[in-house]
Subunit: 197 residues, 2 copies
DNA sequence: ACCTGAACACCGTTCAAGT
DNA sequence: ACCTGAACACCGTTCAAGT
């Protein structure tokens, strides 16, 4: 069989990613399979393994795309003139909205399906770190005298917290999560500010 | 084939749960399969489907056991005479320690593998709600004038937050999570207390 | 009645063999 | 060189047939 190559390997890679993303968005990560992707792009499974090491590798690349998407959404939620506190509330609510509107993609980020075996590569860690940098920036704007280490830890606490609320909100369809997230951010900021430093 | 029944259905159910739990603890949820359980208890897969609807149902029962275990651990972390704030810090750190020491079981709680299809039954929701009640209790002890609704929302924010930090701590092996959790709880409490009510 | 064994429709992954 | 098709070792789930 085989056929004259109609696509470069790089084109196939992009086709695989797009098809996989569509499946995740429409049916969730559990429905993602190499065979489903192959069917979608008109190749056979073997071709997928030419451009990705395995499914875990592919999923990691899907996650990266989603992280990019989230970073973009958060950037757009920032209004330059607003106070740091307002910005942090805005970022949190934008994140929550993203999680609700892109449920399957967002949830994929926290699903360890097979990925557990994989060592998280540095470029992925760097990317999640960049999301935290966004929070750190606002915290340092809010409390300029905070050290890098303090701002870093506070960002970890605050954003980790926001993420946790989103998670339980979505898993246990809790209502009125916007207010809960708002309460966390505002209480935390008020209390953090007052910490002896 | 078939053989004279050596165990009641209820005994088999317990054997299945115990074997499944062992597999999850030792190898993680990804390694759990009906065949592996069957092999372990000396029956065939068919027997599992006599006592559980499907794997999702079985996993839900495993989750319940873990939630019970966590509730017990948290109860033991409480020292009656301590201040509410100290209790909340103690609860959070006990939870974090549990998550680290029982990684596979704890992570199972947040894995939606197949379970997504299932509607979360009320008894499961009630059980998670009871964990939150533990937090709510301390919050009301701390600020007796808070309404039920306020204490509930604060518990949601605070415990959701603690959980989120545990999650990112464990996924991205962040170090020094104890201090980050401490910072969240202490800052939140300080800020919550000062909220106009 | 209880349990088995085999089947069905799926997986991820590999690789000899075709073009 | 590129791609296929079939294979291998797994899944979850069902159910006729044995005891």
């Amino acid at each position: 069989m085989a056929r004259r190559s109609e696509h470069t390997q790089d084109e196939i890679k992009q086709m695989v990613l797009q098809a996989a993303e569509r499946i995740v968005i429409e049916q969730g990560l559990d429905s993602l399979s190499a065979r489903a992707i192959a069917l979608d792009i008109g190749y056979t499974v073997g071709s997928i393994y030419k451009v990705f090491d395995n499914m875990a590798d592919l999923i990691l690349h899907l996650k990266t795309r989603t992280l990019d998407d989230i970073a973009l959404t958060l950037q757009q939620a920032l209004v330059v003139d607003d106070s740091p506190q307002c910005c942090l509330v805005a970022l949190s609510k934008a994140y929550l909205t993203y999680a609700k509107h892109n449920f399957n993609r967002w949830q994929m980020l926290f699903n360890q399906r097979q990925t557990a075996a994989l060592v998280t590569p540095d470029w992925y860690k760097l990317q999640t770190a960049q999301l935290f940098k966004l929070i750190e920036g606002q915290l340092k704007r809010h409390t300029p005298m905070a050290s890098d280490e303090q701002a870093h830890r506070a960002a970890q606490a605050l954003w980790g917290g926001v993420n946790g609320i989103c998670y339980s909100a979505v898993l246990e369809d809790v209502s009125d999560t916007e207010r809960t997230v708002g309460l966390l951010v505002e209480s935390f900021m008020r209390g953090w500010m007052l910490e002896e430093r």
